[in-house]
Subunit: 346 residues, 4 copies
């Protein structure tokens, strides 16, 4: 079968690989219909995740049709139309039972990382019963792909950890795909002020279209002043960090109001400075989270009810044969005005 | 001054009454601009609340301009444009400090009940600093009147107590003003299925316009069956009782799903049957609440942000001189297609 | 093997039955070491649960040694020393993943009910990976038996649903085993006032020994008055109903304070009267729950740390051969001063 | 009257000062009976809080008798025996009404800081109705002094923000008075493992006496290893930082388990390094808080019920005339084996 294979830092190829087979009785093999590319895939290609071995098929998102199930799979059958969660959950370990499968003892984020992933014609899904979701009839496949990772990530790590509530002033720092996913899902809670901050005016235009009440380009160094003006000098109730660098985490600390919450979504490569000399007395909460994808059923219901429109996040479509072009487009998101790209296996 | 005075069961008059004066240093006197009539006022007139003495000026909602403040009032000044909360909060007692001023040792719901109310040219407001809210510039006065009681009631007793969350299936039983207030504020949390149940088709048409995804006329006795169909046989996550009779509370028990919540909003005059022989094992929660009106600041922000449009609840306008007509209209809500009426003191 | 078999209303026998075998790959067969008798077993014997078919082996509590596991069991092995949960959890269905396995689509309370139970030499446990717990070294087996059902029931249905917090005034109505389990686990949260109410002075003496700060015999009809005296006229913060009849649920309604919580633990056979005409405005919460046994790991840790001493609940020991005597003793708990009895399979 | 006066960095004197008088109608003047010294007082004396002006009477804790109340004080009277909260709450501003009076627009921590404090024969208490608590009959005065600041600080900033629950593994870093206050109040929630870490063996002996299940002297550099051993390699559920330096906050980050909470209690003078490159994916929560002292009623009830014994924290007693000696003792806490000192105004 065709698959996008990581061949060491900077190297990837669309190659012919053996079709995966069942290894454990709880596995399923899924024939992929659609997948997408994640910012994390770009990190892997840069060599930032040394645990990903060359030869690995990338990808941890997508929808498909079940091709085969092991004897221990009871909830899915050959032919089922399924959504693949980016988080593989054994459903049995302490972490899974605490609702934190991101730290599953045997699973977690392993697809396209510790095991072969979804950017291929077929993929093996361990613990299928607790790692797949049946796609409702009438669902739009492209929208479903957004439920594999990006929407649960924005929602769980940003919105739920931020405890956004109606009437709040919320700032989202970073208007890339994951910041925009937080922007879409934040609106499930009717905040009054929804500020998006980025360096790129094009992204801010998109943020405005997606529901931001205010957008701020932070290049002029006046972003703190502007946020304070918009919040009557109090700072925001919730700051969602969706970039992953020290400067943006620092910005969150400057704009957070007393009693507020900083929800980190960004993947950080270096430590940051925490200004406890100022914040120790400010009654703030800082959260981190690797997505658990436990809210997929909830988000699926909001999508099916039309309360959340994930298709807004999709800007480009490619065939699996053209996945290298898809990577080029997604890798040059600024120039290409790309958000999420759909890669279809016909 | 003119005032609507309760003169015993079935009797009310628009009378000339003495203008209220400051009694305690924490009082304010407010010149009323707009008020409204509550279902509770009708209950008083029926004689259902024997604690309301004849001679009492009715009304516990409205907006106005501060005419005078006592020496102990520090947050408001003569001339301030204010919203009057239906709940008077001393701000000091155990209940106020627990966030439950509905049970304030010296306040609670006393306006138009234990003390004279707002259906008059002037009203005395005890504990003004903690019982009034400054109206923002650009606010629409009619909308503000809805924040005195009906919106906090629907929101706190129905939506917050029901813990509505995105994707939920919610049923609201009763499409009168308070049920519709719950309907509007439930949508701050993006439920997927929002069923409104009533006996009156006109009200159900309104409910549909206000955002119900499904409406059911319960006259045919098939409401349980219909709700079960809409929820794939599981029952609803949240049932909001907004009528106040045994039959509707009974219906909530029939349609609630395992793990669900029944939030009672209705004012009940008699006991009801609780089917613990069925529900003891269903992991359900039942809540009751007299509105605390502690979410008024939150709701005010959602209204100012355009996320909540209270004007939808207003169907009729009257001058204070015509308040008896206003009562007629409101008292015959079905025939008049009336929801909330605004009574203006020019 | 020997087993206690239900033979229709009023009839039970210690019989020779076939040893259970694995049916599904996720099953384990456990050789029982110790079990106990639950109040529910008595209900079954009275014929109150018509779904329990004659021929059923009773019992849903106990500890043992794994004798055999199916191919799909990954977390347990032959020879493991295990605690059997009264709730069988598939770990995959919507309810299990919501943390509510009491309503598991394939499990829930099925042992000694829909399938054969633990009052036998061997028992088959479906979904072993998510329905058994490894017993730590140094654990006392008798204590572990109390973790199968009674302690999670008192804790989840009573204490957690009651949201007991330090300083609270808590009343427990009913000092039978389950009320006493609530009494023990309530003390994990340091309530200030802990009132136990019962009709039997012997049980109240036990309650006092178990940590009640006040005990009230309710036979004289002055219980409401006494509770009000003990709570300065405010009523209790939490009332835990551990009897299951209309009168005791009624008592909870009379003694609950404004803003309080009534946590129902009792199994009710008939409906009760809910005084909404009084309670609609009292900001109270009523909860019901079939134990989910999701807190077993938490309780296990508190037992191992010596913060909870379940052995206090055990009054009698019997051999499996004498289980009919054990039933006699437990069935005449008042006369025998019995709480929980341990039945050992040597 | 006599008072301990700050006279600039390093300088303090017991001086004759004018007796305070009522300034606002909401003030009370309290004749002090007992006060104590806080670590913050030592910080002020070092000159670390430049906002404290020379000439300021220090102290923000204590009990006394009301000498005089303003016309606007309704809940207290001359002669009342009262506990003074370290947090002055107006009861009216947004922050007070959100339950966060630490950030009260007119109050907060102002005693012995922005206004004269309690280390004197008399003190003026603004907003007396919402900043004082009536002392119950039979209460022990020394214990009450611990409720002014140190117990609410340990409880709110450490235990509540840490969300300690039964069965948890909790580490408290720092066994000074505030760490020990967290240690005492953590036990209201029955954690299974309660590790206290400090550099001073004497303090660790005290910690053990106060209920620590494990104590670790961190001088040998093996503290992380030891904590991991005690927690089966998982790290703690809750880490409470009660020192206020970068190294101890760093330690919290090393020992916190996935899904855990770091509750900062310490007052920090410099920024710290936050290892987001490791923690971004660990689902942790970090909290900061200036005590709000909103749990004083709850703690008072637990003290009166004997569930919390604050006297354990008191090691020395002095007369107000000897307050300079009291400062010497408290300032050399290690050498003097001092925890909290009581200063009595006879």
């Amino acid at each position: 079968m065709k698959a996008l294979v990581y061949r060491g830092p900077g190297k990837k190829q669309l190659e012919e690989m053996p079709k995966p087979t069942l290894r454990d009785s709880t596995d399923a093999v899924v024939r992929m219909i659609k997948t997408t590319i994640c910012g994390t895939d770009l990190h892997i290609l840069k060599g930032d995740l040394p645990t990903v071995a060359p030869g690995r098929i990338l990808g941890h998102e997508g929808v498909g049709i079940i091709d085969e199930v092991g004897a221990g799979v009871s909830r899915f059958h050959k032919g089922d139309h399924v959504l693949i969660s980016c988080i593989t959950a054994c459903g049995k370990c302490e972490y899974c039972r605490r609702g934190m499968p991101s730290h599953c003892e045997q699973g977690g984020w392993i697809l396209g990382n510790a095991i072969d992933g979804t950017q291929a014609e077929f993929v093996r899904i361990p613990f299928a019963d607790t790692s797949l979701y049946l796609i409702p009839e009438n669902a739009e496949e492209d929208a479903m792909v957004m439920l594999s990772d990006i929407l649960p990530t924005g929602y769980e790590c940003g919105v739920l950890n931020g405890c956004v509530k109606p009437g709040d002033a919320v700032a989202i720092i970073g208007a890339g795909p994951v910041g925009l996913a937080a922007l879409l899902t934040t609106q499930l809670y009717a905040p009054a002020t929804l500020i998006v901050i980025d360096l790129d005016d094009n992204r801010l235009i998109v943020a405005k279209q997606f529901g931001a009440t205010e957008v701020i380009n932070s290049t002029d160094g006046k972003v703190v002043e502007k946020v304070m003006f918009l919040t009557a000098g109090k700072g925001v109730d919730v700051a969602i960090e969706a970039v992953g660098v020290a400067a943006t985490f620092g910005l969150c600390q400057e704009i957070i109001g007393a009693g507020g919450r900083i929800a980190n979504v960004g993947v950080h490569g270096t430590s940051v400075t925490l200004h406890l000399e100022k914040l120790w007395s400010q009654n703030i909460t800082i959260t981190t989270r690797l997505v658990d994808a436990v809210t997929t059923p909830l988000l699926l219901k909001t999508v099916m009810a039309g309360k959340l429109k994930p298709n807004q996040l999709i800007t480009h479509h490619f065939a699996l044969d053209d996945i290298l072009k898809a990577y080029d487009t997604f890798g040059n998101a600024g120039r290409e005005h790309a958000l999420k790209v759909i890669v279809t296996n016909q």
